[in-house]
């Protein structure tokens, strides 16, 4: 739902403000912050790929005589109510979390982007029809969509991914459509048409590539927040019980211990926050880097 929110907001606003075609001002990032973000992502990706090299303990090792230990020498981030090492669980949970984050954004943006692109390309009837459908879907809270998906397909990791993706589709669609509409009337597009290029090839070669960068920004926020959507679902009791829980599930499961053992859910929360921050900072930078105007040679 969180991704939905973000994406929806940016999508709609962009759509409406598309008339003011000037690109968003750069959200230029101090070098140090960028470096830190790259580092964070690198570490998290490493956690996802080779957790066994990083985690000090097994994430499933329930040391029942060491439950609820505060952060200390032997357990840097403490232990949880099973006696698992919190650090190790977080490290191992990275794989699932990153997967939820990235997969749902990829699915959502591909599907939404395609709808938006079709709508923007054909315009007219097709456009107004698709946009009416998108309008309709937007009035249904993301929670309901997510719950419905979870309920239809049964519990599972892909569910969360699909649920989040589904809820974000209207937003990507709207965003890309708005972007394409404003791009379609640019003079380099007319220029290409005037030399006799076919409509479809103009669309593929000029309109689309120039319309994608705001999608990137939206996706950057989406990646981080879909993990939270997952946690929202597990809060509502629709999560999956996995041997190695993802961060969202850790947060949701550990919330009851906030007053007695704050470290259980504070550190996974911090992991999510760091991840969101880093992805967003890198996303902004990446958008600039992909823009030949802004990349410095």
């Amino acid at each position: 739902m969180r991704t939905a929110a973000t994406v929806k907001i940016i999508g709609r606003v962009r759509g409406r403000v598309a008339a003011r075609s000037r690109a968003f001002p750069q959200w230029s990032v101090p070098k140090g912050l960028l470096f830190a973000s790259v580092l964070v992502i690198a570490v998290l990706v490493a956690c996802a790929l080779v957790p066994q090299w990083i985690a000090p303990y097994s994430p499933t090792d329930m040391q029942t005589d060491h439950i609820l230990e505060a952060p200390g020498k032997s357990h840097w981030l403490g232990t949880d109510y099973f006696g698992r090492d919190v650090l190790s669980v977080i490290v191992y949970g990275a794989r699932e979390s990153l997967f939820i984050g990235f997969a749902s954004v990829i699915v959502g943006s591909l599907a939404g982007g395609t709808i938006g692109a079709i709508s923007g390309y054909f315009g007219g009837r097709v456009d107004s029809m698709l946009m009416r459908i998108i309008d309709i879907v937007m009035t249904i809270p993301g929670v309901l969509l997510a719950l419905a998906v979870a309920a239809v397909l049964g519990p599972g990791l892909w569910n969360i991914v699909l649920a989040v993706a589904l809820a974000s589709i209207p937003n990507y669609a709207r965003l890309l459509r708005g972007q394409i509409l404003s791009m379609k009337s640019r003079s380099f597009v007319v220029a290409s048409r005037s030399i006799g290029a076919g409509e479809f090839s103009i669309f593929l070669k000029h309109v689309l590539p120039n319309s994608l960068s705001p999608l990137l920004v939206m996706a950057a926020i989406g990646v981080g927040t879909s993990i939270l959507t997952g946690s929202g679902l597990s809060f509502l009791g629709l999560g999956v019980l996995k041997e190695i829980p993802d961060w969202g599930a850790l947060l949701s499961q550990g919330r009851g211990y906030l007053s007695v053992a704050w470290w259980i859910c504070t550190f996974p929360g911090l992991a999510i926050t760091l991840f969101v921050l880093a992805v967003n900072i890198i996303g902004d930078e990446l958008r600039d880097a992909l823009d030949p105007k802004k990349s410095r040679t």
């Binding site: 230029s28 640019r186 380099f188 120039n210």
Partner: protein, 668 residues
């Protein structure tokens, strides 16, 4: 004489991501009260920075005054506190900007923005008084129905009106110094003339000092008492208008003056253009900053930067003034082949023929109501362009020139009427056949920045026509593109670079290279040079002329710079509110305009000769809305010779001489 403004050795730095840039260096000049001083120079020479430095507006853009002083009425602005600065701005000195549309806050009414200014500086006046004053001011600058306009939002007024309102706002606290940064560049010639007229009146009426920034030497010649020439952040020359135009003391000034296309430029001669382009601040040349482009440059120029020196009561910064004064003009004009000896041959076959072309854009209307309101962008236009000729199309903004061009190339379908190209009825073609036909008709766009895809490499942009139309192998493509690059005067190494790495003039060359890639028979140049500096404009115009001749193309040249259009065209059509009002061979049109509108247009063009100053404002009022054009003759509302007949009967285009057509009941 008291100096209202005194700038002493001013330097301004900007802090940017890539380090500090010095935008202006050691600039000194002054303005006396009641004097109009023009600051001229190519784009990027530092004119605006100078003006903003005077207001200390550069503070907001990471700029800072690193040395020197700016004295306004004796007060040094350069190290004034923010607060006292704010109370000076608008009161002591006021500013008028280039884009009137963008210079007002769009969400407040004109009135409230004027009142805001008055109340800010005059604490005694009540809001009501301020409002009354605003109404007075608007009336003074010639806005009809000022009470009504006060309540209008910026978006509801035309550019000309907004510029007047902006001037009214600047005048609201009776400043002693008015700084106008390109106040007319965004406006039509007729409106420009009105505004310049207004400035002159105000100067005499209020004894105001004016610093007018412009790149149009014509304007400077018409209005300035004194002219300051800037180049790459430095002042290179300073003199009274007469002195400067009679005898420039700096090769740059000389080059500028020569680059101007005037209403009597010799059409058989190439336009003069200063070679090269103005350097960026990050890579300024050693020594004299102009030396790489200077025909007089010596070794010394490359080593040592010349100081601004007094000579005969004027100043210039050049080591070679003496040499220049001796008058040996190097690299001046050259005769262009044997091409344009006279007018085009009337017996030539038409290449393109338009008959009764009309283009209406529906406005308003929703799902339920079929739109009944339309913008008549082009209304019943018929004419033909002959093989090999250059046809010019002029008219004020919104008169439908671009629309006509687009309809010609079938980028848009006409509402009615037909376009014939050679033996093909273009309006009947579609799909692949139309795309095939486009091979022979190409377009050069006005905006050199927007008309190339920023994500494509130059080589791909220019090579796109090959990709679209053909069977060209990649190696061949590279070869051909490099050839084209050379043809338009770019280095083949541009192939792998991105458009943003090029200057405006260079980008326009990229656009031209693409347009000529397939050797089309017909090229439409829609304001192809309007966005460029005078000297670059000359380069591009020369290039177009050369190419046209080499490739034997037919050209439709749309522009609002009448002098350039006159220079390039064989015949010219004049449009007004979607109608073609006059067609004539270009010399004849300027010598003997038949339509009142044409005459007004021509009279509005500033003449770059201080000795031939004249009254501006030859066409009164503004162009009406094309959604609701006047009945009968569309020009009648602004026509000095309008009669009752004009209101009821629309004049048809009729011949009044050899090759000369006009749509007027009482032609001149």
């Amino acid at each position: 004489m008291s100096h209202i403004l005194d700038i002493e050795r001013l330097s301004v730095d900007f802090a940017t991501a890539r380090g500090t840039l010095q935008a202006i260096h050691d600039v000194s000049f002054s303005i006396e009260s009641g004097e109009i001083v023009c600051l001229v120079g190519e784009s990027g020479s530092g004119k605006s920075v100078t003006s903003k430095a005077i207001m200390r507006l550069i503070d907001e853009e990471n700029g800072s005054i690193t040395s020197g002083a700016i004295k306004v009425d004796g007060i040094d602005i350069s190290d004034l506190s923010k607060l006292s600065l704010q109370s000076l701005r608008g009161k002591k000195m006021a500013m008028v900007f280039q884009e009137p549309m963008a210079a007002f806050d769009p969400v407040f009414t004109i009135g409230s923005q004027i009142v805001e200014t008055i109340c800010r500086h005059d604490h005694n006046s009540t809001a009501n008084q301020a409002w009354q004053r605003g109404v007075e001011l608007l009336r003074r600058v010639g806005i009809p129905e000022p009470e009504l306009r006060m309540k209008a939002y910026p978006g509801e007024l035309s550019g000309g009106m907004l510029q007047r309102a902006m001037i009214a706002m600047a005048l609201s606290c009776e400043p002693e110094l008015l700084i106008a940064d390109e106040p007319t560049t965004a406006l039509d010639v007729t409106i420009q003339a009105q505004i310049l007229q207004l400035l002159q009146e105000l100067k005499t009426e209020y004894r105001m000092s004016v610093l007018l920034i412009t790149h149009d030497l014509g304007i400077a010649a018409q209005i300035a008492d004194r002219i300051v020439v800037m180049y790459a952040g430095k002042i290179v020359e300073q003199a009274t208008a007469e002195e400067l135009f009679t005898q420039p003391h700096h090769p740059y000034t000389q080059g500028l003056l020569q680059s101007i296309t005037t209403l009597d430029s010799d059409k058989s001669q190439r336009l003069y253009a200063i070679p090269g382009s103005i350097p960026g601040l990050a890579d300024l040349p050693e020594g004299c900053r102009f030396h790489p482009r200077c025909p007089y440059a010596s070794e010394r120029c490359a080593r040592e930067a010349p100081e601004l020196q007094d000579r005969d009561g004027r100043q210039s910064a050049c080591w070679n003034v003496g040499q220049l004064l001796e008058g040996s003009e190097r690299g001046k004009t050259e005769v262009i082949g044997a091409m344009r000896v006279g007018e085009t041959d009337r017996t030539l076959q038409p290449l393109i023929e338009l008959s009764h072309v009309t283009k209406h854009y529906p406005v308003g209307g929703s799902f339920f109501s079929r739109a009944h309101k339309v913008i008549q962008a082009v209304d019943d236009v018929s004419f033909s362009i002959r093989k090999g000729e250059t046809f010019g199309l002029v008219g004020e903004s919104g008169s439908g020139k671009s629309t006509l061009g687009r309809v010609m190339l079938q980028l848009e379908r006409p509402t009615s009427g037909s376009v014939r190209f050679e033996d093909q009825q273009l309006t009947a073609l579609s799909g692949a056949r139309l795309r095939e036909a486009r091979k022979h008709m190409q377009m050069i766009f006005q905006d050199p920045y927007g008309s190339v895809d920023p994500r494509w490499k130059v080589g791909d942009i220019i090579g796109e026509p090959f990709a679209v139309h053909g069977n060209v192998r990649p190696s061949e493509k590279r070869e051909q593109v490099e050839e084209l690059l050379q043809l338009v005067g770019l280095s083949p190494s541009a192939y792998d670079r991105y458009p943003h790495e090029f200057s405006g003039g260079q980008r326009q060359r990229i656009g031209i290279a693409r347009a000529i890639a397939l050797r089309p028979k017909f090229i439409l140049a829609d304001e192809a040079v309007s966005a460029l500096d005078v000297s670059v404009q000359a380069q591009i115009v020369n290039l177009l002329q050369d190419l046209r001749q080499q490739l034997n193309m037919t050209l439709l040249f749309i522009g609002h710079g009448l002098n350039v259009v006159r220079y390039v065209s064989d015949r010219i059509g004049v449009m007004y509110l979607g109608k073609l009002v006059e067609i004539a061979p270009s010399e004849r049109l300027f010598l003997r305009p038949a339509h009142h509108y044409t005459r007004g247009l021509i009279a509005s063009v500033p003449i770059p000769d201080p000795n031939r100053r004249r009254e501006f404002a030859s066409v009164e009022g503004e162009i009406p809305s094309p959604a609701n054009p006047p009945s009968g003759c569309r020009f009648r509302t602004r026509c000095p010779a309008a009669t009752a007949r004009c209101a009821v009967e629309a004049p048809a285009l009729r011949a009044i001489g050899s090759d000369h057509f006009v749509a007027c009941h009482d032609p001149l």
